[in-house]
């Protein structure tokens, strides 16, 4: 189960105070989720800022029907998906060829290994989005399959299938590295 149980009875009167409270509590989680999607520190930071601006602008509309973190996570996922679909991302992506992309991936991995010493982490970040996100949410952030299903709007069995396939793909990637 996830390590923070949301206390919905906590009442914060002023929106700015409420935003401060939410940012202190969730900014790390939101940043991590955005990073899992985008794999870029700067883009993840931009998305994170946009998420909390949207949270602030929509605090009055938040009806407490779901937990804060479910609401904020869904905003984050939507923004990341919009960004990946956006013209600016495609333009960035289409600017290079496949070989350029492979070179770029290799360079990123090299950077990871040298700076962060995160070989396995970088291998997980190499996986396709549909496996990368469930694996990261489950193993790095401790979410249950039911919670991941709710964020990603897919069935719980589908989450389990993706976790299984993701582990298999990771196994193949790590074996190749050996």
């Amino acid at each position: 189960m996830y390590d923070f149980a949301e206390n919905q009875t906590e009442v914060v009167s002023d929106n700015k105070d409420e935003l401060n409270y939410l940012m202190k509590r969730f900014s790390k989680k939101v940043y991590k989720l955005a990073y899992y999607y985008l794999r870029d520190k700067h883009q993840a930071e931009d998305i994170c800022q946009e998420v909390f601006i949207r949270v602030y602008n929509n605090l009055d509309k938040f009806r407490q029907e779901s937990n804060y973190y479910t609401w904020i996570y869904k905003i984050t996922i939507n923004l990341c998906k919009d960004y990946l679909k956006s013209a600016s991302f495609r333009k960035l992506f289409a600017a290079g060829t496949i070989s350029d992309l492979n070179i770029s991936c290799r360079e990123t991995n090299k950077m990871f290994e040298e700076v962060e010493g995160g070989e396995v982490f970088s291998k997980i970040m190499e996986l396709p989005t549909k496996y990368r996100i469930p694996l990261s949410l489950h193993y790095f952030d401790g979410f249950t399959t039911a919670e991941i299903a709710s964020f990603l709007k897919i069935s719980e069995s589908n989450v389990r299938v993706r976790l299984h396939r993701g582990r298999e793909k990771l196994k193949a990637l790590l074996s190749r590295g050996d």
Binding site: M23, I53, Y56, I98, F140, H164, L174
Partner: protein, 334 residues
């Protein structure tokens, strides 16, 4: 590497992730958000202070200038566009990674802008699927042209339970989204093929729900030589249910149960043409198949509950898919 080792590696990755994310300055991020909000508030206040009249005058002036600029540059833009169309050839306008659930291969989907030989300035897209070869090079394994279409759409996966390979939906729209083209791709043996190919689907919306493609399209309520009123178009919903044969000969479908509404259609398609039986009380009526006989269409005539049986050619292997057909009165409940 066994499963225990993978779990150990994942635990190791979790520690690496913690270390990686701990370096980020979250306080700075929070302060930036607050600064942005303050800036936005100041901007709003300034606009209010300007007063309605000033704003209106400014808006009218800007619109007027924009109209002048756009109308004068239209001719220039057209010429530039014509020249650039040929320059764009060879470079993909979009590139997406695709995944058929095969752990050994990497696949990419590229869309290229192409013109027809008569050089008529239409927006056509050529979709190409590349697959990684044994030496790390890429081979083209599938291609298809999407005519009069310039907007590639995101790829969707139609997943099967267990470890069976997925199918992939690729699609594109035209600029004003009047229609859509799409293909459902999957492996037949070692060959990547299109199971479903649809072109110029009017008013099309597609979504994938638990491995089933839900296609909503507009069709005229009555066919005549001339469509006089676009309001006389009806929504038709079709659920595309994929199936495939496992190595052991079993038939696997992406769903065991599907809930639809009266009037909706079901289309069954898979890696082999197989007979289909419908048992029960005739809620579902089998319609014509497509030309290649690879897609079987059913139409929900009445509400109720019914099973569809997908059979192997020899009739020995049977896959059951249960269908619940809701009446229009049930719509509000769902």
């Amino acid at each position: 590497m066994n499963n225990d080792n993978v779990e150990k590696k994942l635990l190791e990755a979790s520690k690496q992730a913690d270390k990686f994310f701990s370096s980020f300055d979250y306080n700075k991020l929070n302060n930036t958000v607050l600064l942005k909000l303050k800036h936005e508030n100041n901007k709003e206040n300034r606009i209010k202070m300007l007063g309605g009249f000033t704003v209106k005058v400014s808006v009218i002036a800007v619109c007027f200038i924009l109209i002048l600029v756009i109308s004068s540059s239209l001719g220039i833009k057209k010429t530039i566009q014509n020249n650039n169309d040929f320059a764009l050839l060879g470079k993909p306008v979009s590139q997406q990674m695709i995944d058929f659930g095969n752990t050994k291969l990497n696949q990419w989907l590229n869309y290229f802008k192409i013109d027809k030989p008569d050089k008529k300035m239409e927006s056509n897209l050529l979709a190409v699927v590349w697959e990684s070869g044994t030496k790390g090079d890429y081979d083209m394994v599938y291609s298809s042209v999407f005519e009069n279409s310039n907007k590639p759409c995101p790829v969707y996966n139609l997943d099967f339970p267990g470890n069976y390979p997925s199918m992939v939906l690729i699609s594109s729209q035209n600029d004003r989204s009047q229609y859509m083209h799409y293909r459902i791709l999957g492996y037949k043996g070692n060959k990547l093929s299109a199971y479903v190919e649809k072109d110029y689907v009017t008013g099309c919306k597609i979504e994938v729900i638990d491995g089933v493609l839900k296609e909503t399209r507009l069709i005229p309520s009555s066919y005549s030589e001339e469509i006089k009123d676009t309001d006389q178009m009806n929504n038709v919903v079709t659920y595309y249910i994929p199936y495939q044969h496992s190595e052991s000969g079993n038939i696997i479908s992406s769903v065991n149960f599907l809930r639809i509404f009266k009037g909706d259609k079901i289309a069954l398609f898979g890696d082999y043409d197989v007979p289909i039986d419908i048992a029960g009380n005739n809620l579902l009526i089998q319609e014509d198949t497509n030309e290649e006989n690879s897609i079987k269409y059913l139409h929900a005539e009445k509400s109720g509950y019914q099973n569809i049986y997908i059979k192997s050619k020899d009739g020995k292997v049977i896959k059951k898919v249960s269908i619940e057909v809701l009446s229009n009165d049930d719509i509000n409940e769902y």
